[in-house]
Structure formats: C-alpha cells, structure tokens
Symmetry: C2
Subunit: 452 residues, 2 copies
C-alpha cells in the first residue's frame, strides 16, 4: 500500500518540480543546471536499469542503454513532452562526447601498440574492403529502387554506408571481456583507418555534389591528396612524436607533488590528442584512442611508486558516469516515428541489408589464421553517430537550387543507422559464443577420437 | 637547444591549431567540443601547476587555482584574445557547477549529521550574526560614501555583504585536513542557514526595489512567510524524508548487479537533492551538502560486501577533474581591469573591510568552548559566486526607469568579492596555524612550569 502510494505521489511531485519551478536568480544558467541535473538522474538510473535487464537476457549492457534512451526520447509519441529537452540539450551532447572520448582512451590503454602493429595489414585490408563493398551495395540498392533520383543520391547512399562507428563495437568488446583478442585489435585498427578513408569518401562526395551544382563534374585532386597527407600524417606523426614526448611529459608532471597529477596529466594528453585529431578533420575519438595506445605503464611508474592509483582505476568512475550518457543519448536521438512511415520501410530494409552484408566481406580479407572472421565482419556493422553525421551533411547539400536528398531518403538512412547500431551487440555476442561452442565441440570430438 | 626549440615551436603549432582550424562536419557542435577540450587542458594543467606553486609557499592549493584562473582570464589585457571564450562558455560553467556540487557532496559525506546537530545552535547564531552585522556595515559605508545615491543602493550594498560562499571555505578546510573539527561543522552549518537567510534578504530587497518602482514601499508579508516556510521545510523535510528513504533506495539499488551501481545511485541521490534545493530557490550546493550528510556507510554496506569501491574513493577522480574547473573558472571571471579604475578603489576598499569585519562577529556568538573563534569568523568571509549572483540581480533592477546600481558601484562590489575570496585561504590557514603554535607554546610553558 505504502509503496503503491509512493508510485503515485512521486511522479506527481516530480511533475510539479519540473513545471512548477519559480524563476531563480541568474535565471537562465540556473535553469540549465536544473535541467541537466534532472537529465543526468534519468540517464544514469535508466542506463543502469536497462543494462541490468538486458544482462539478465545475457546481452551486453550497452544494448539496454540504447533501448532506455529510445524510450526516454520517444515519450513524446505518447503525448508526454516533459523530456523533449533531452534531445537538444547541447551540454548533454558535450558530456556524451567526453564520455565516448574517455571510452576510446580507456580502450586504447588496454590495447598494445606492438600488437596493433602486428595486425596492421589485416586492419588495412578490413578497412578498405569495408569501405568499397558497402559503397557499391548502397549505390546498387539506391539505383535499383530510386531509379528516378539524381545520380548523386546513389553516391550519397553509398557514402553513408562506408562509415563505421567504433564506439558501440568497442563497448561491446569491453562488456564481453574480449578487448585483448586479435579480433578486437583488427576491428579497432580498421576503425581508425576507416575514419581516414571515410574522410576521403566524404570529401569526394561533397566535391562531386558541389561540382554538379556548378555544372562541372570534377573534384580537385590536390584537395584529396592534402586530406590523405594530413590524415596519414596525423596517425604516424602523432604516434612517432607521442612515443618520444609522452615519457618526458609524464616525467615532468611527476615532479609536481599535488594530488591527482597522474589523472590530470593523462586526461590532458588524451584531450590534446582528441583536439589535434579534430583540428585535422578526424573524429575526436581517433585521437583519444591514439592517446590511450601511446600511454604505457612505464611512462607513469613514478606516480605509482608514490602511491597514486593506477590510471585505469582512476578513470573507471569517470567512464562509469559519462559513457552511459553517450549511449543513452544515442538512443534518445532515435526518432521512432520514422518507423511508422510504411512507404520508406522497404527502401530502409534493403539499405540496412546492404549495410550489414557490405561489411561481411571484412571477415574474408583478414590475413591472420584462426581468428573469428565472422566477429570481425559483425563488429564493423554499426554506423552510429558517424553515419548520422554523413547523412546530415547530405541533407544540407543542394544541386541547382534543389535538395537532392529528400526527407524520406534521410529517414530510411536513419532507420538503417538505428538498426545496425541495435543489432551489433547481440550479433557480436552470438559470434563469440558460437566460436566458443564450436571449439568446445571440436576439442570434445578430438578427445573422443583419442579415447576411441 | 632542443628544449628551447620546443618552447618556440609548440606555441606556434598550438596557435595555428586554434586559429587555423578547418570547418568540420556538423560544424557548430564540433567546434564547441574542440573549444571545451582546449579549455579543459588549460584549466586542468593550470590548476595543478598553480596548486603546486602555492603549496610550496605553504598555502592551500585552491588559492593557486584562483590565481591561475585570473591569469588565464585576463590575458586580453595584454592584447591576447585567444582565450576570451573561456569566460562565456556555458558548458564550462556547467562543468564548474557540477564540480562544486560534487565538492559539497563529498564534504557532506565527511560530515556527521549527529555532530552537525550538536553545533546547531552555534551555527544558527553564527549565520544570523553573519547576516546582520555585514548588512549594517555595508549600509553604513554606502550611506557615508555614496550620500547622493538612492536609499535603496545602501540596502543593496548591505544585502550583497550578507552572502557567504561556502565553496571556498569547504575547499580550504579540506586542503588543510580540518573537515572533522567543530569549527568546520559550525561554518558548514552556518553556511547552509546563511543561504536560507540570504534568500530572505534577497526577497526583501527585490520586493523593496519593485515596490519603490511602483511608488509604494511595502513587501507583501505573505511572500516572506512563504519563502521561510519552504526553505525551512526543505531543510527539515528532506532530512526527515531522506533519512528514511535513502536506506530503502540503496537497498533497492543493491539488487542490481551491473557495475558501478553505488556511484550511480549516490550521484543520482545527490543530483536529486541539488535539484530539489534549486526548485525551492536555494543553492544547488545546499542540496548536495544535505545529500552527503544523509548518506552514511551503513546505507551501502551491501555494495561494499560485494567488493565495490568505497564511495569516497569512487568520487575522488570525479572531484579531481571537476572541482578545479569551478575554482579556475571563478578566477577567470575576475576582471582585473576594474582594479585600474582609481575612482572606485576607495569605495571598494571600504566595502571590502566592511565585508571582512562584518563577519568577524561570527566568532563571538559561538556557544561551544575551546573552539577557534577566529577561524570561524575568517571562514565566513568569502562572498564568492553567491555575492556575484546577488550583485548581478541588483544590476537588473530599475527604479522609475533608472538603474540605481551604476557600473562603478557594481565594479566595487566585484572587487570586494574577489578580495574576500582571495584573502580567505591564507587567512584561514594562518588562523589554524596560529592556534597550533599557541597550544604548543602553552603546553610547553605548562611543562616548563611543572619542571620548575
């Protein structure tokens, strides 16, 4: 009885707190703070509840966070608009971005640069195949179904399918405890290279569309060369400089005796690399991953000797709070109402299939033996926020006064991004589980053979 | 030589990264992320460097953070405008607010509610005296020096002096390891009550000014009664409900097995209390402090038993990163150019003295024996952001079409806030040190006496 009463009274109280607020001093900032506090409470508790529920169904926690986000973000479909602010709160978007930066930094810390280099060729093959195949498939599907659309629409659909969002896959690999496997190294390396290739595809497509708008049909080649040069320059340059600079940086920092220097120095290094990556045009998370990759326990042994916590331990509380913000917010931004539009569902379904099968070729171009090729193909599936960014750019491009990417096409792309993001966690988990079962069966039949 | 070269090249590189950026996809958000990353690097490294330097002069680290902030925020005086964005970045302001909320939550966790109640009478006396005396002194100084100003200006100056910003004092007490002393409990308790009294003063002053604007001279009494009722209601109501609710909340939460539940539940509780405090019109940090006070290790023993970190340990990395953002930003917002205006320095100096001496009466109304009365008086000095908020409200109030608080008066108020904030850390440290020396001398002379 008392519990039932609380269930009735608390939401009412909550409602009146949201809507019945009086204007406070320095009103606008204070209101923002209040909204963000409320949003954080909902996101954090929702994330944990969602994670708990899907873990009981043996799924990675991130899937629950995405679903909780979808629920929070689509209450407006039921007529409740009290949470609509979650979608547009710039500050939540920034906390989410910090969350995924820290996640990739953490993943980078758990990765070893020597082992990454060892799978470099496979990562490069995977990334290249994972750009070409989905591009061709997307182009094909678009040409077939949207035969009346502008030629550039097909290129745009193909370009969107090239993207890989490594956030989801990295998180699932961590949830499953598979970060130390060769599959994880290949996927992460390929995702970094994919980001560079994606930049290139984006530049080509934007160039083509701008050229079409002017009536020509060429992309300045020197622009493409410059993009390749600076991206590759970043990857190799920062790794080369970083490997030499970071030990000195940490040695210098260790001379300061104030509390928390290890965490502050490491985060500053991570943020700096993320910033440089951004300045070059790459994703911030590529920089953060590179920063994590470069840091090694040797660099900060001075800190450990004087009793500071290990960096991984100090990072944990930060990622515990910020990482779910990223994934719940990704769910919040999913607009379920686009699923209701039957006229686009057919196209959306085929684009989604193209997105999924296009990346499955990745598993076949791995050079190492004995790796789980299926897991690699599945790990490359999610398009996530990268796909949405590319899709969003397409929306703004105009050929001869007309937007060539119409809202229905965009909605179909959004559905594809959602589907690939939601399907990856269970598929990836299944791929790893499946191998484990096969291995167990094989070793069992081997034993049986010996016994016989 | 190589080091000298690095000193030349790195800033140049940095400069080109700030100014030479190309527009990236989804430009505005990405630019914000880049700015915030840059700001965080500067703030975090600057805070640690500043803290280190002042600690070598045996001063609390927070003083160094304030000074570094003042340097970063006033580079524009030297003609460098590349960091001006730090002052107006809404997202930094929010991270800072989260920082001070977590600081007061942490301080609340280290405080004991029973011990707080034991000094309740003294805290109430200190808060009351610390509102009345500065109000009268401020009024007096203003009447004397600004004899031609509107009568309400004097009330406004008095009202600004009532505020106490507990953030600085709490931080200094923690830096000095004095949070467990009766002085700390009295100051923290008084600061909470002061916040309620401050609300009241603010309501009276705003009411008087609005009444003067309409030509009447009364404040609706029912409004004041309502403010008192809801503030007192919050303090006692939430403590009463919280004490009963939090054990259940944590018991419920402990049934979820996902990682990080203790931290997430505690932070959600803290944010909820901060939100409620804000909704009532109190400062968010009062709610956060109350949340920390209510939480006790018994409430989350279930979590500890299954091996989660102690809450204080999990909070540490979060406060290590976010708390300096608050204090550096406080420094950044100090506008040193107001010091250059000699015509207001006399008024500013007297208002500052009124602010300092007005709070010294606090030490004399403590009922306990053997406490460091000087430390209590000094601990109540800083006006910090609370004073600035009240001052800012005054700026917006208009009597019969004219702003009664002119920019020079406002600048003087800002100088007073800065001075009280910067003086508190060294003064408070000195007060505690002084007692220690006296005690040592006394016990030494007692020993000498015995020996003789």
């Amino acid at each position: 009885m008392r519990r039932a009463l609380a269930l009735i009274v608390l939401p009412l109280l909550f409602r009146s707190l949201i809507f019945g607020q009086e204007a406070a001093p320095s009103a606008e900032h204070a209101q923002t703070v209040a909204r963000v506090l409320l949003a954080l409470i909902l996101i954090l508790l929702g994330a944990k509840l969602g994670g708990e529920i899907v873990e009981r169904f043996h799924q990675p926690a991130v899937l629950g966070e995405l679903i909780v986000g979808m629920l929070l973000g689509n209450l407006s479909l039921l007529g409740f608009h009290g949470l609509d602010f979650l979608k547009n709160e710039e500050i939540l978007a920034l906390l989410a971005e910090l969350g995924v930066i820290l996640l990739l930094f953490e993943v980078g810390l758990e990765s070893d640069i020597v082992e990454m280099k060892a799978v470099g060729l496979s990562a490069f093959s995977v990334a290249t195949a994972g750009v070409i195949a989905p591009f061709l498939l997307g182009w094909g599907v678009s040409s077939w179904l949207l035969s009346k659309a502008h030629r550039l629409v097909h290129i745009y659909v193909g370009a969107v399918l090239c993207a890989t969002s490594v956030g989801i896959t990295a998180r699932v690999l961590r949830d499953l405890g598979k970060l130390a496997t060769p599959e994880a190294r290949i996927i992460l390396g390929a995702a970094v290279i994919d980001d560079v290739l994606g930049l290139l595809v984006l530049a080509i497509v934007s160039g083509l569309i701008r050229a079409a708008d002017r009536g020509t049909a060429t992309v300045p080649i020197e622009r493409l060369v410059w993009i390749i040069a600076k991206s590759v320059g970043f990857l190799f340059g920062t790794i080369w400089i970083g490997q030499r600079l970071s030990p000195r940086l940490f040695h210098l920092a260790s001379k300061l005796r104030v509390h928390g220097m290890l965490l502050v120095t490491s985060l500053s290094f991570c943020f700096l690399m993320a910033y440089i990556a951004h300045a070059i045009g790459l994703a911030t998370i590529v920089g953060a991953f590179a920063a994590g990759l470069l840091l090694d326990q040797v660099h900060y042994r001075d800190f450990l000797e004087r009793g500071e916590h290990r960096l991984e331990e100090a990072l944990r509380p930060l990622t515990t709070i910020l990482v779910p913000v990223f994934f719940v917010l990704m769910g919040i931004r999913v607009d379920l109402s686009s699923f209701g539009r039957t006229e686009i569902l057919g196209f959306a379904a085929l684009v989604t299939l193209a997105a999924i099968f296009g990346k499955q070729i990745c598993g076949f171009v791995v050079w190492e033996r004995g790796v789980n090729r299926m897991a690699i193909g599945l790990g490359m599936i999610p398009r996530g926020e990268v796909g949405l960014i590319v899709a969003g750019i397409g929306m703004t491009l105009v050929v001869q006064g007309e937007r060539i990417v119409t809202p229905p096409i965009f909605s179909a792309i959004v559905i594809m991004v959602m589907a690939t993001t939601l399907l990856t966690p269970p598929l990836l988990k299944w791929a790893f589980l499946r191998t484990a079962v096969i291995e167990r069966t094989l070793s069992k039949s081997a034993c049986d053979g010996e016994r016989a």
